[in-house]
């Protein structure tokens, strides 16, 4: 049903105090994780680009983020005269608050290998998350759609053309990818049968087969990872802050601490999205499967270690995306969202529902759960292969079309044609790698 066990029988002063402690603790963990994430991203991107990265402030450059934060605090805070003052000042907070609110849903520790993930302090049984909302996943979707207001309003209130363009892009992108995000989540809900994040983690504990990434057949996970990256406005979907086209994007006019807040929100969102992926698809603090020889200590900190180990993998994947993928063009972004991800996740939901109905009705070969899992995985692999080959085909068609059109241009303007041909000889087809060099550039 959701909710901490200690809240079930009335609320007294101690319950309120415990809730407050959890809020403060989650906020501190979230802030520290965000700080470390900034350092981690800069360090990993540097290594992937054969650089060293921050190494002066503190051991391994760990204090670099702190130093940057202090520097930004003492910079002059400029509000453009042509801006909408109140909205301009409000926007950074609108961007930061939803990022943290989503983090309150995530179970970050607890013993899920045998236990039910709760611990007891002063006679009060609690879960290792700030709130176990009965409508947890809907709350996550609601918060992720609220996050867009910060970017939209920042771009509009700046009173400047390029930020406005960025915010228009951002809202179109967010609406497009939210649909794919929600539809891929529907598969998880179909398998888990609950909206509460604690119950979703509890349902995944125990074996590899109950892990949602396996039980939902891998397709929703792939769609969620792509749509989540787009929702975060991270590379390769960072059209909101495409430096070549938009100066700096929606935060061009921001300076000092307000800029720092946007920066903080962006990285906090990244950490939160990684945590949500771990919770929904990889069992959060629960072990991936029952290890045959090792007996894990049944304690809450084991869950903590497992959770952060899994989270680190996804944070690395986000950074890896940034370092290796060139930014998508706007039409490619829209095509990927509307023509591939949404049909893929919707179709997969239907297939998964069909398999479930067949199993419940004891039809044919899918009456045992292992067979069910195997069928789901095989179908998922097939669907992914078809999806990937379709998008490769579409890409190839678009490229040959473009080359054919350019061939026509070359006939009409001989001068232009030769210079284009020279470009082709040196850099390959235009658009294929137009901003690879900039993608990995540091902030």
């Amino acid at each position: 049903m959701g909710g901490h066990p200690f809240l079930a029988d009335g609320v007294d002063f101690g319950d309120v105090l415990l809730s407050l402690v959890m809020v403060v603790a989650a906020f501190v963990i979230c802030l520290v994780a965000t700080m470390l994430m900034v350092w981690f991203e800069r360090k990993v991107v540097s290594r992937l680009q054969n650089r060293i990265g921050p190494n002066v402030a503190g051991p391994f450059g760990l204090l670099q983020t702190l130093a940057d934060g202090i520097k930004l605090f003492f910079k002059e805070d400029i509000i453009p005269t042509r801006s909408d003052r109140f909205v301009f000042q409000l926007a950074p907070y609108l961007s930061l608050v939803p990022a943290f609110l989503t983090f309150t849903l995530v179970p970050i520790a607890g013993d899920f290998s045998g236990g039910n993930g709760s611990s007891t302090v002063f006679g009060r049984e609690f879960y290792w998350q700030v709130a176990d909302v009965p409508v947890g996943i809907l709350f996550f979707l609601a918060m992720s759609s609220l996050g867009i207001y910060g970017i939209m309003l920042a771009g509009w209130s700046s009173g400047s053309k390029y930020p406005l363009l960025a915010s228009v892009r951002a809202s179109a992108q967010a609406i497009s990818y939210e649909a794919a995000l929600g539809l891929s989540l529907a598969s998880v809900l179909l398998v888990a049968g609950t909206l509460s994040t604690h119950d979703i983690v509890l349902g995944q504990a125990g074996s590899l087969q109950t892990l949602n990434v396996v039980a939902t057949g891998f397709v929703p996970f792939v769609v969620f990872l792509i749509a989540g990256t787009a929702e975060l406005n991270r590379p390769p979907f960072d059209l909101v802050e495409a430096e070549q086209e938009l100066v700096g994007g929606f935060h061009t006019e921001y300076s000092s601490i307000r800029f720092a807040l946007f920066f903080l929100a962006e990285f906090m969102n990244t950490v939160t999205m990684g945590a949500i992926i771990v919770t929904l698809f990889f069992g959060g603090p629960a072990p991936l499967f029952d290890f045959p020889f090792i007996d894990f200590p049944h304690a809450w900190w084991m869950g903590f270690i497992l959770f952060f180990a899994k989270l680190l993998v996804f944070l690395f994947i986000f950074v890896w995306f940034r370092a290796s993928l060139p930014r998508l063009r706007y039409d490619q972004l829209m095509d990927l969202g509307w023509k591939l991800l949404i049909p893929l996740s919707l179709g997969w939901l239907l297939i998964l529902g069909g398999i479930r109905v067949a199993r419940d009705g004891n039809i044919g070969i899918v009456d045992d759960s292992i067979g069910d899992t195997i069928i789901v995985l095989v179908l998922g692999g097939m669907v992914l292969a078809v999806g990937a080959s379709l998008i490769m085909l579409a890409n190839r068609n678009a490229r040959s079309e473009r080359l054919r059109n350019e061939g026509l241009v070359a006939v009409a303007n001989p001068d232009l044609g030769t210079s284009r041909a020279a470009d082709h000889a040196t850099t390959g087809p235009p658009g294929a790698s137009h901003d690879t060099a900039q993608v990995g550039a540091d902030h």
């Binding site: 909408d84 939209m152 939210e178």
Partner: protein, 179 residues
């Protein structure tokens, strides 16, 4: 007995008192925001005030224990419809500062119609629920209960609305097509 009277009569119980004060605060905020929304002279500000009204309605749902309705309200109205509306405003006209030509010639007719509408709806609500009381120990309404009733007794209206939305979707595509 007026509804304010009902509120006053129940203020012996702490829980009810807290609930009622929260409700009154939310109602006040939402009424103020609604008034500001129609009187402000900037389109984006009007949209932001509308946002506050919609959020206040979601808060009322939370107080009533209807968490699913609250989450859906935020997700659909604030997260999708208002984003789309702001997107449209920003694509077309979104100047900063006050605008002069926001008044419409027929605003008095519109005002009259909205007053009549409010009166009719208020009267029918008053007739139906003026002495209804919330149960004392109400449990939050679970998502399962919502799903059961949508796909149970309300299946026909649900399907009708689905078809209506589908028709609207196809209509929008037809209108927006270039050829």
């Amino acid at each position: 007995m007026t509804s304010l009277g009902i509120l006053a009569a129940e203020m012996t119980n702490t829980e009810v008192w807290v609930t009622n004060s929260f409700f009154l605060a939310i109602a006040a905020v939402s009424i103020l925001a609604a008034l500001k929304m129609v009187t402000t002279d900037n389109v984006v500000h009007a949209a932001l005030y509308l946002l506050i009204v919609l959020a206040a309605v979601a808060a009322v749902y939370v107080i009533l224990g209807a968490e699913f309705a609250a989450a859906t309200q935020i997700l659909v109205y604030i997260g999708a419809i208002m984003v789309l509306l702001l997107f449209g405003v920003m694509l077309t006209r979104a100047q900063i500062g006050s605008e002069t030509d926001l008044d419409h010639d027929q605003k008095w007719i519109g005002a009259l119609i909205s007053v009549v509408l409010a009166a009719v709806m208020g009267y029918s609500l008053w007739e139906a629920f003026s002495d209804a009381k919330l149960p004392d120990n109400r449990v939050p309404q679970g998502t399962e209960a919502v799903a059961d009733s949508i796909f149970g007794i309300y299946i026909v209206p649900f399907e009708a609305i689905s078809v209506l939305l589908l028709a609207a979707l196809i209509g929008a595509v037809v209108v927006a097509r270039r050829d």
